[in-house]
């Protein structure tokens, strides 16, 4: 039976009831981090902080936002932007964070690819990360509907139409998703619910899963070295802090993390105050009009690469390849057939695959923003084909890779 004694301090009182000292050890001071890692390993913490910024700014927006087709536009563009003191701050923080969070996600992803941090027991970290990417994409899309401007409406129209599956003509499914023949009140209401409740809840759950998946394999390191965490942490606790290959998560590694977060926040608030325009589409400052399409409909920059894979083909092939691009990254741990989990620079052909993939995605992104005409169409088409071909080639080039 649990035995409680008279507490000697508040800490002791809590300790007897919640074992706070033990929790602190498990979560922080005896959570071991390799010493040989660089600033790219701070991106996870930057993402946590950016998510916190989104939640806090979102809560303030939520107090004045009205989720009806008649009032949504004015509640954002008039009430929040002009009437509410500092309302513009919350909106700009929210918009800039929603954009920047994807930049950081892409850096985080490509860091993982470069260092092979998705193999050798780290598969679940990668898969939960990709689920987070999907959840964030849903969150960003549903949020984009809320101001009910022209881009909200027409992006909603085009994206929900993707679910008709081209020649399958699943119009019933599209109408079910919308709750109407076209995006209207039922549509705005359900995307509002998704944006402020269901998807944020899923994101929080997935962050928990992501961290849990890190627990057993620990984070990778920049030399792809397999570290015996039990032996190295014992060495550290026995007093050989210099000789040990690991350090405590808190406060030791945290201090480095927060240093990077500090630099990020300066950059972030510079954008929020002086350069927020990139996160606000001018077309969305016109209220939604179901009888007038804007001249060009394009998604936010972070969706452009996959949108560009949809565009150059006929509708069925376009949809199939678009679907391929959406899910293929999830399978990376299984498509990479090589046992080597070291930096790409030491992996032969994979090194070129890595840089090639990065370049192709940047090219697709750039072409997705340009109008679908002439030379841009052609470059986009070739980039899309190269993207697909590279994924098909991945299992082959990695199974030919020499074991290190």
């Amino acid at each position: 039976m649990a035995h409680f004694t008279k507490a000697t301090s508040v800490k002791d009182w809590l300790n007897q009831r919640l074992a706070i000292e033990k929790v602190e050890k498990v979560m922080a001071s005896e959570y071991w981090i390799p010493k040989n890692i660089n600033f790219l390993w701070a991106m996870g913490m930057v993402l946590v902080i950016t998510f916190a910024l989104l939640v806090v700014s979102g809560i303030f927006l939520l107090m004045y936002y009205v989720p009806t087709v008649d009032e949504a536009f004015n509640s954002v563009n008039y009430t929040i932007m002009r009437e509410v003191d500092f309302g513009w701050l919350w909106r700009h923080v929210h918009g800039v964070a929603a954009s920047v969070v994807f930049l950081v996600i892409y850096i985080h992803m490509f860091t993982g690819i470069y260092y092979g941090s998705y193999k050798k027991g780290r598969e679940m970290i990668w898969i939960s990360g990709m689920l987070l990417f999907i959840a964030f994409s849903t969150e960003a899309f549903s949020g984009y509907m809320l101001p009910w401007g022209q881009m909200s409406y027409w992006a909603g129209m085009v994206i929900t139409n993707l679910f008709s599956g081209g020649s399958l003509h699943a119009d019933g499914l599209v109408e079910w998703i919308r709750g109407d023949y076209v995006p209207a009140q039922a549509f705005l209401g359900r995307f509002f619910m998704l944006h402020v409740l269901l998807v944020p809840l899923a994101i929080m759950g997935l962050i928990g899963l992501h961290f849990a998946a890190l627990r057993i394999p620990h984070v990778n390191n920049q030399d792809g070295e397999e570290i015996d965490f039990d032996a190295e942490s014992k060495k550290y606790l026995d007093g050989d802090k210099v000789g040990s290959k690991v350090m405590r998560f808190a406060n030791d590694f945290m201090s480095k993390d927060m240093m990077v977060v500090g630099i990020f926040l300066i950059f972030f608030f510079y954008l929020t105050f002086y350069n927020y325009g990139f996160a606000m589409d001018p077309v969305n400052f016109d209220p939604a009009d179901g009888l007038k399409t804007p001249a060009h409909i394009y998604p936010e920059w972070y969706f452009l690469w996959s949108y560009e894979i949809l565009r150059p083909f006929n509708i069925d092939l376009g949809l199939a390849l678009f679907g391929f691009a959406q899910v293929i990254f999830v399978f990376l741990p299984f498509l990479d057939r090589s046992p080597n989990s070291v930096p790409a620079s030491r992996r032969g052909a994979f090194k070129y695959w890595f840089w090639g993939m990065l370049i192709v995605m940047i090219v697709l992104t750039a072409m997705g923003k340009l109008p679908p005409e002439g030379i841009y169409s052609t470059i986009g088409l070739y980039a899309a084909i190269i993207f697909i071909a590279m994924w098909v080639a991945l299992p082959i080039i990695t199974s030919l890779e020499k074991k290190l």
Binding site: M157, V158, W176, G290, I315
Partner: protein, 176 residues
């Protein structure tokens, strides 16, 4: 042993109750997302077809969607002659000939613009084109404009109701 089989039974009994509950809630959740009766009931629009002018495209509204109405001139009709696909889409009311179609690009749903000079439609989203009868002249759109269910009543056209003319188009695969 005895208590084990009892636990086993209780586990299965709970599983059965939970499965019925789960299926029931999924049905309820699916149905809660269906279009509301009021949305479905507002699905009719009546057009007076005597007011349109030849060659002037007018956009009407039905179920929140734009409806293109184009009264075709004799010249256009002359051009369509012999083109079975175009003739099958023609809607005749009295002595007048019309193109009536849902004004959403069959590719991904943008609204194509009518070009009065050319007498055709251009979709700015991905460059699709349609002629005056609503047939595709340039991809990516996979098919001509869809034709909304209609019923001819004298000089008026009721959208949302199925008349014999529309039924024929549907049966012949002219529209979805």
């Amino acid at each position: 042993m005895k208590s084990n089989s009892r636990r086993g039974f209780m586990g299965k009994a709970f599983g059965a109750v939970a499965a019925v509950g789960a299926v029931g809630s999924l049905v309820a959740m699916k149905k809660s997302w269906d279009p509301l009766p009021s949305v479905k009931a507002a699905g009719f629009t009546t057009l007076d077809m005597s007011i349109y002018e030849e060659g002037l495209m007018v956009t009407e509204k039905w179920r929140g969607k734009p409806i293109f109405v184009l009264k075709k001139s004799a010249a256009v009709m002359e051009k369509e002659k012999g083109n079975a696909a175009a003739e099958a889409r023609n809607i005749k009311i009295g002595n007048d000939n019309f193109m009536v179609a849902i004004g959403l690009c069959t590719h991904l749903g943008c609204i194509p613009a009518f070009r009065e000079a050319e007498g055709d439609f251009l979709c700015a989203c991905h460059g699709g084109q349609f002629d005056a009868s609503g047939l595709v002249t340039k991809v990516p759109p996979p098919r001509g404009f869809d034709i909304p269910p209609f019923k001819i009543e004298g000089n008026t056209l009721v959208l949302g109701e199925v008349g014999p003319e529309w039924q024929t188009m549907k049966d012949n695969g002219v529209t979805l």
